[in-house]
Symmetry: C2
């Protein structure tokens, strides 16, 4: 009898754990089966990208996206769907961006490059800015030759680091040239900057994105060019002592616009005042359909709601599904969401964002304390069948970062495979046709599984 | 002193293992860095797909591919490059395949469907075969209604199972309708078959592939149609009691052709008579560029050779890099390779194939005995940084299967992410443009790492 008792004491925790595990893996299988059979994410993405298209914050298209987001969440049937007002910047690109080069030492022919003004940059006159190009590889070279920059257009030909397996690391590294390159060059008297696109793509599409000026220096025009044009321009600068470029851009800020975060809720059955947030951002750049960035995150969020409802899951905590406004050039929606949550004295417990594309899922990045990290890692086997079991330290997303500051909660970001992301990111090629249906759906499967586990067990 | 001795005894194995591990991880990092910076796989794939294109065994294009393969391997600089003769079947599609439907109970209009004759199928007369359609979901329905099949064209509308995470499982399940559907229907008097393509793609491309006739029954024509056409035809068959279809195909076998496996070798420094094989197949279907199937495997194989040479790696074993002939409709190259190896009394130790596409790598499937499986699993952490650490039981490839039979050696197959594979597999869309450069290169990184470990430690 005693022996049996000992066996039971030893075995019970394992049995409980095995049982829990099998209930959880069965429920996650249900999630997966339902999403892969009945998922609507792909069809919703088609609506968002093809009926609305590019939707930069403040634009009429963004207003349409808000209406569409609310209507769609209403149809899925949350307990509440509502709008949260916030003012957003309204940058407009204006007429066609233009960058053309003339190699003075060669034939004096003007050759157009495929260029996009960098978001938030201010335009030139209609005649544009014409000046000699000063080509540098990086900021070190800029500093080295700072005395030769005055009156010139600086061309940053900084390359994506090809050897990083995660392309996001290369983006984090190269991004500073787009973000800060203009003011860094203006400090030394440059009259414009051209930036090699943040990409390793094999095409020549330029990639836009946001930048910010340092108010201490002149606000010079800034444009991105594609990789083939960048390679050619670099070669030309090596061959010719005087290569002239004309940059003509028309970017300007109109007054801030009223916009909204679109929010749906499933009310918690046990701890309705404890909130789990899952979201993506509804805005996109103006030059594409924002399919991967971040149409995917928007429809992932909707799909998590749909499948939990479809399976009749009653969450313990309140789950908020948030389509954030203005991630791309201001993050005002994110700030507003955290600010109001803090102001109302809400209790937040966890937030998950999808803003790394709709590619096949690899796992999640977690911004969590060591004890929570351990807890999370115990769930990894549950994600293995669905491709999302690579858990890395560090992660979240621009839209949920302010929640971390406000509530010191664990954050997670879905990490799809990153190899193709920067082929299309902020470029014209970020369109519906470049999203694969099954890859998109599997992202939602893994997200729904994580939300289910966090809701069930807490963190 | 004694205490120190004990610590050393305990610590030494860990230190040795840690050291080995760090040497191996450093070498694999070198492989990865070199491939991502200097890899040629993408450029080779461009040559193979754009200069040669579709290359079914026996075709003039396949002969060109053999020449190109040998020339390219020569340039990379193996210790030996040679051709291994084998006779291959020579099936030709002939003129355009045609499937058209007439819904007799509706408007009597003939509507063309997008169709491809199934590979190895025999054609009709120029007028084709016209008969009523008998639509079934699966073989069970065929058997149930076998008395109603006579004189009709059977339409197999069997769907890919959407809930499998690995799409290869769905292919293994659905493939029998393409392979055996014709003879199964001919047994009951059917005069032709139409098969729903083995895919979950969102387009309407038909997918060909191989089939085989059972000599006991008439060899009736067989064609595949795309998913949209299949859905429409199925609906029509539900609405209308008499839907007629005309199948006109022109498939025929010409006499067998002389062809070759293309083989390169790095001679082993310690055990030159022990052979490791790594390969892919050089032939493809005729209707596309065979970019993923199996251009990717061909250039993966070449890239493994290139990077081992570039890093000055001197293998202990002889490594054979094999571009196999005729995987798609006969596997004669595979049979020949194993047969000659056996005949010469060679000693084979391991074989790896890449024939699941050039998508981002997930890991490997292994066909190995339990003890070897354990050994292999100890290497998993080395693959984690490169995305290839999901090791599954079962795997290999059509071209290396005969080696298993001949030598009872462990086999491995590269397992790229499978979500997109059957969108393009055997369809017109399997073209260079649908291969991503970094994804392709990372496949070669993981393969080279595995070949390095197997060569260094044995199995």
């Amino acid at each position: 009898m005693k022996k049996i008792f000992i066996i039971m004491v030893v075995a019970l925790p394992f049995m409980a754990s095995a049982q829990t595990n099998s209930i959880d893996s069965a429920f996650i299988k249900k999630i997966s089966d339902d999403v892969l059979q009945n998922g609507q994410a792909y069809e919703w993405l088609h609506q968002l990208t093809k009926n609305i298209g590019g939707r930069l914050a403040g634009s009429p298209q963004f207003a349409k996206a808000i209406d569409w987001g609310k209507l769609t969440l209403d149809k899925i049937g949350a307990d509440k769907v509502y709008l949260q007002e916030c003012m957003v910047p309204h940058w407009v690109r204006g007429k066609n961006d233009k960058v053309s080069i003339t190699a003075v030492n060669h034939k004096s022919e003007s050759k157009p490059l495929d260029a996009l003004a960098i978001g938030n940059s201010l335009g030139t006159t209609d005649k544009g800015v014409t000046a000699e190009v000063f080509a540098v590889n990086d900021f070190d070279q800029l500093e080295k030759y700072k005395d030769q920059i005055k009156g010139k257009i600086v061309f940053y030909n900084y390359h994506f680091i090809p050897t990083n397996i995660s392309t996001f690391r290369s983006y984090a590294d190269a991004g500073k040239y787009r973000r800060f390159g203009a003011s860094r060059a203006a400090k030394y008297g440059a009259v414009g900057v051209i930036v090699r696109s943040m990409s390793e793509s094999t095409d020549n599409n330029p990639h836009t994105g946001s930048m910010e000026y340092n108010d201490s220096f002149p606000k010079i025009p800034a444009a991105a060019i594609g990789l083939q044009d960048a390679d050619n321009l670099w070669k030309l600068c090596q061959q010719s002592t005087s290569v002239k470029v004309n940059i003509t851009t028309h970017g300007t800020f109109l007054p801030d616009e009223r916009a909204y975060n679109v929010i749906a809720e499933l009310t918690g059955s046990e701890s309705p005042d404890e909130i789990i947030t899952v979201g993506g951002h509804l805005d996109s750049w103006d030059v594409n359909e924002g399919a991967h960035d971040d149409g995917a995150g928007v429809v992932h969020t909707m799909e998590v709601l749909r499948v939990l409802k479809a399976l009749g899951y009653k969450p313990k905590h309140t789950i908020r599904f948030v389509l954030f406004a203005n991630e791309e050039n201001g993050a005002r929606g994110a700030d507003k969401y955290a600010e109001e949550a803090k102001g109302r004295g809400e209790k937040h417990v966890f937030a998950l964002e999808s803003d790394d594309g709709g590619f096949t899922p690899r796992g999640f990045g977690f911004n969590a304390k060591p004890a929570v990290w351990e807890e999370l890692n115990a769930w990894k086997p549950l994600f293995e069948p669905y491709g999302g079991s690579t858990f890395t330290k560090g992660g979240g997303g621009t839209d949920i970062e302010p929640l971390k500051k406000a509530f010191d909660i664990p954050l997670a970001g879905l990490q799809p495979d990153s190899q193709r992301y920067f082929d299309v990111h902020h470029a014209r090629s970020d369109v519906f046709e470049n999203v694969n249906r099954r890859e998109l759906l599997l992202g939602a499967v893994n997200m729904a599984a994580l939300i289910y586990l966090v809701d069930k067990y807490g963190l």
